[in-house]
């Protein structure tokens, strides 16, 4: 992964000093509340329902074991001993004190971490595929490009006061695990149709929130060296023409929609003329430098078939282990290795939460089994990307002892869920208790597996941090005359065939949610053809059968 040099370190240390001074001036009454607001937001600090919330950046989801140990230590010393993995692959602390935040940031800087631009109307943390570099279907590793974007966007002087927040995602695979269609800018590494040279397909104007939109293609194929100048041109158009009169209409998706993608593209091309081939054009030396941080670890030569046979035999002896391998591990492009998902979705714990003890243990596992690195995922789980099959059984036993081996990755109970009204000041409704009620109701894992892959996404408000629009089943907390209700949508998808879910009908009370989900799933099981997934079945039959089942009057 990327390692800071002296200059990177100096920049991040100076940021800590800057925010320490700003915090002191604020606490002394020398900075007005409204002026301090964007300063603290761009250092990851929200003021929440119960305490401030600090969102720590995990650039494109990559962490090393030393960083995770530091997060464990910080959560113990400055918080209540746990942290939360967010749907943007970041780490959130729910209980820090404002006056401690500069010290926390200094601790983070000591392990090359920060909370820069994790909030506010600026360019946020760039996200990507959690299996980058090890996925079997990868055309090119997106992480060097994420790092190039991270450096360009960090403290960008022109784009720190945009009309609204701005999120970029990059993917380099056939199946999109980075939800690039749901981002302000989505970048996909694609071959040129004639030459085969790899460049970027550039999408703009995707997004979730109040007005969910699938991104439009602004450029079918962009040569790699022009990436930064082209991004700069898009941002310039957005910064100048994006709406600033209404925060609900301020995202780039509204601008692209209002202008039409053709007109938007013309504006971008016009801006780009002045920037193209300028000093920010990427050099081969810089591209190679960044790629040099994401080279292969020292993989062993392993007989893949023999290793798989051993794991299979272990699984037959211990079906629980075998099941975990099937559900929570993924094929690796190097023979003899597997990608291991660590589920943070055990019933009884808030989805995505992890304790200090668990963090330290996972850091140890990363050192023992996975070259000292790990990843956070936008499904709010963790990943050890390079585990020898020979070590899977040991690792599973250790994870199981810590409650980290729930075999539910990609299934119903792997609920994606924002912190909701229990923590978040923006939320209309609680989301964690709904997730818990559903996990409780569907505690029969065989039934859950039989349902097949199912994304259940819960957001406590329109801001859609739980990405409910792109869940196969989406749940949105709404406020009706001061009471918490939940609106259900069906048919969302975050994959290449991305789609926005359709609202089922009138919203429900919290205590009815598990029943509603059960009715939806019973309906699905009744009408599914052979091994059809929920999403495929929905696409075949539409909303009606589900609507009838859920809203049918009792006889």
């Amino acid at each position: 992964m990327y390692v800071y040099d002296q200059v990177d370190q100096r920049i991040i240390d100076e940021r800590v000093a800057q925010f320490r001074d700003q915090t002191q001036r604020f606490l002394a009454g020398d900075i007005a509340e409204e002026h301090f607001l964007p300063l603290r937001l761009q250092n990851g600090l929200y003021v929440q329902r119960l305490a401030p919330m600090l969102r720590i950046a995990v650039p494109y989801g990559m962490m090393n074991s030393a960083q995770l140990r530091k997060l464990a230590e910080i959560s113990r010393n400055f918080d209540k001993g746990y942290a939360h993995i967010s749907t943007r692959q970041n780490v959130q602390l729910n209980w820090p004190e404002l006056a401690d935040v500069p010290d926390i940031l200094a601790e983070l800087a000591s392990v090359q971490m920060h909370a820069v631009q994790t909030s506010g109307n600026c360019i946020r943390n760039t996200t990507t595929d959690q299996f980058a570099g090890v996925a079997v279907d990868e055309l090119e590793d997106p992480r060097p490009w994420c790092e190039i974007i991270r450096q360009w966007s960090t403290f960008h002087p022109e784009f720190a006061f945009l009309p609204r927040k701005f999120k970029i995602a990059v993917c380099g695979t056939e199946s999109d695990r980075a939800a690039i269609h749901a981002h302000d800018i989505g970048l996909e590494l694609v071959p040129h149709p004639d030459s085969g040279e790899i460049g970027f397909k550039v999408l703009a104007g995707g997004g979730l929130g109040r007005t969910p939109v699938i991104g439009s293609v602004v450029c079918e194929w962009l040569p790699k060296k022009h990436l930064i100048t082209y991004l700069e041109a898009i941002l310039r158009v957005y910064n100048q023409l994006g709406r600033r009169d209404n925060k609900y209409k301020a995202r780039i998706k509204i601008l692209v929609k209002a202008m039409g993608v053709e007109a938007f593209r013309e504006h971008v091309e016009e801006q780009w003329k002045a920037l193209k081939d300028g000093p920010s054009t990427l050099t081969d030396a810089e591209i190679d430098r960044c790629k040099g941080f994401f080279t292969e670890p020292a993989y062993k030569q392993i007989d893949g078939l023999a290793a798989a046979a051993t794991v299979k035999a272990q699984g037959e002896q211990n079906p629980e282990f075998g099941n975990w391998v099937t559900r929570n591990t993924v094929a690796h492009r190097v023979p003899g290795y597997r990608i291991v998902n660590i589920s943070l979705k055990a019933t009884g714990y808030a989805p995505g939460d992890i304790s200090d003890v668990q963090m330290e243990a996972v850091a140890d596992f990363a050192d023992q089994y996975a070259f000292g690195e790990l990843r956070s995922t936008h499904q709010q789980n963790l990943v050890l990307a390079d585990v020898e099959q020979e070590h899977l059984f040991d690792l599973w036993q250790k994870l199981d002892a810590l409650g980290l081996a729930t075999a539910n990755i990609g299934y119903l109970t792997d609920v994606i869920c924002c912190p909701g009204g229990d923590y978040c000041a923006l939320a209309n409704a609680k989301s964690i208790p709904v997730a818990e009620a559903i996990q409780d109701r569907f505690d029969n894992l065989d039934y859950v597996y039989d349902l097949g892959p199912l994304d259940l996404n819960i957001s406590g408000c329109m801001n859609a941090c739980g990405h409910h629009h792109i869940g196969h089943i989406g749940v949105l907390g709404v406020d009706k005359k001061g009471a918490e209700f939940y609106q259900v949508s069906l048919g969302g998808s975050q994959d290449k065939d991305a789609s926005i879910g359709k609202i089922l009908g009138p919203s429900f009370q919290q205590e009815d949610m598990a029943d509603v989900i059960e009715k939806l799933l019973t309906t699905f099981v009744g009408l599914r053809q052979s091994e059809e997934s929920f999403l495929d079945a929905y696409r075949r039959v539409g909303l009606e059968p589900f609507k009838e089942a859920v809203y049918a009057k009792a006889d």
Binding site: N121, Q151, P157, E158, Q240, P279, S280
Partner: protein, 142 residues
């Protein structure tokens, strides 16, 4: 005489003349003129050549209006070398970014300690991306 920060120092406001709206400026002014830009009224609305300008002020109706940052940068990229002065409701903690975008003068609407503000001009000693103050991105200089 009102004070402002210019080129890194606290100085008196030297501009004596009127500051015009873009539409008040003739196409070929006889002497250098001063123009006020504001969000929605960017450099493209200036009717004369940039070499006719002695001063450009860019007014911040609110400190969060980031359009002004792009305006300054576009003026510099178009070859304007005179004074670009931020006016209105920007804040001290934006000085570093404003300077990088091409502003070289700062006249606060609010009463502030200008000498104390000078420190914020040098919050960082290095930056990743190219801007007016450093036309080469860091990757060309590593």
């Amino acid at each position: 005489m009102p004070k402002l920060i210019k080129d890194g120092r606290v100085v008196d406001d030297q501009w004596q003349g009127e500051i015009l709206q873009p539409e008040q400026i003739p196409e070929s002014p006889a002497a250098p003129v001063a123009v006020q830009l504001e969000p929605g009224q960017g450099p493209a609305t200036i009717p004369c050549a940039l070499s006719n300008l002695g001063l450009v002020t860019i007014f911040f109706p609110a400190f969060t209006d980031g359009r002004c940052f792009s305006y300054a940068r576009e003026l510099r990229e178009s070859g304007y070398t005179g004074e670009i002065r931020a006016t209105g409701h920007f804040i001290r903690d934006q000085l570093f970014y404003l300077q990088r975008c091409g502003f070289n003068a700062f006249q606060f609407a609010e009463e502030v300690d200008l000498d104390a503000c000078l420190a914020s001009l040098s919050d960082f000693s290095e930056s990743y991306q190219a801007a007016v103050d450093q036309p080469e991105p860091l990757f060309l200089r590593r």
